[in-house]
Subunit: 155 residues, 3 copies
């Protein structure tokens, strides 16, 4: 093994690796939630998925949309739209030598906000629960982007 | 702080960090554009989002789709579909020791093309403005992928 | 050039770079597949895209959805939902000093499973072809996440 593992000896990078892995695993859970609702509510997007429930015209009735399934899919897409910037900006920010306390605080707020966002979306909780958790995660990512560009801009 | 910050002393990596942060921040702006159109046009996807505009049947009329909102959402999804490959391939390409001038040219074309793509999509400009900006970003990403695989393939 | 290229001398990291680039390039192919079906079937989402096929009311008939196009788009979105966690977790896992044989096996199964997933979705093959390829890729990503968190957790 070369000195590649030096990266993992860095406190901020190692914390980023842990928080990024946790929030990506949470995002993957959305796929299983969609599959769970599709199977228990018999709501499918593809004819081949409901072939075992009936043939021909009988199967077509399962090709529909459902509020519950669409809600999980919207939450999943919102995760993608927000976790991708966190991954990219957070990784580069971690490598830019930030203050460990500040950096880890950023990661913690982001992960907490996104978990609360999912809970608010799926239950659902009344607004502004979801809006506030969205903007907490959004603000933290912008704060890392600002810090990175201020200290390390090179165009 | 360990020698992790050596990465940021590398010209290409530092340029990649700047351009990636800029284009991810631009992508995040699409979320606020969607929120802006949803609020000003009173078009919502979730019952809890328009609870303050009315109760019961009265609130349901806000649960609809709108051309303007759907256009922003398509632009956002197209961003995701193209910026994710740029992030992944661009990061690995930056670490593969490319010629700095060539590498930074790639990043600049990608970021310029994606910003022009967003403008073309949101105004909208007549085709082929959007198609050309899409293929410029697409071609630049494939060019980095080709360079990476030609020089560093290891399966 | 600084010692940044040391990363690419690491066997696992270099293999990750190759497999990640291959699977991202495959995902980019979905965009061209969507464009191909849109053009050959004359199915568009934006008025400006079909302006050359007719004016006014005549053009509106091309603004519709089509089973074939929607199928490609669902496959593309499923790719995004699964390749983003692979990219993030796989990158961090590669940097955590795993056993090379185990790590490369993970990457190979993931890439093979996602290519088979695309084939199953687009042909389509009967279930459970697509479901099994989905869960193979999903399981491999979770296995890397587990290995990373077990060895390198830092909160």
């Amino acid at each position: 093994m070369s000195d590649i593992t030096n990266l993992m000896e860095n406190e901020v990078f190692r914390a980023f690796a842990s928080y990024a892995t946790i929030i990506l695993s949470k995002m993957m859970f959305m796929s299983t939630a969609t599959a769970f609702y599709r199977l228990t509510r018999k709501v499918f997007a593809n004819p081949e998925d409901c072939a075992s429930f009936g043939k021909g015209e009988n199967a077509k009735k399962f090709l529909r949309t459902d509020d519950r399934v669409e809600r999980v899919r919207r939450a999943h897409l919102n995760d993608l739209e927000n976790i991708v910037p966190f991954l990219g900006i957070g990784l580069l920010y971690s490598l830019s030598g930030p203050d460990p306390f500040t950096a880890i605080l950023h990661f913690r707020i982001f992960v907490g906000a996104r978990i609360y966002h999912t809970i608010s979306y799926l239950l659902p909780l009344p607004q502004p629960n979801r809006a506030l958790s969205f903007f907490a995660g959004f603000g933290v990512t912008l704060s890392m982007a600002y810090s990175l560009l201020r200290n390390r801009l090179y165009l």
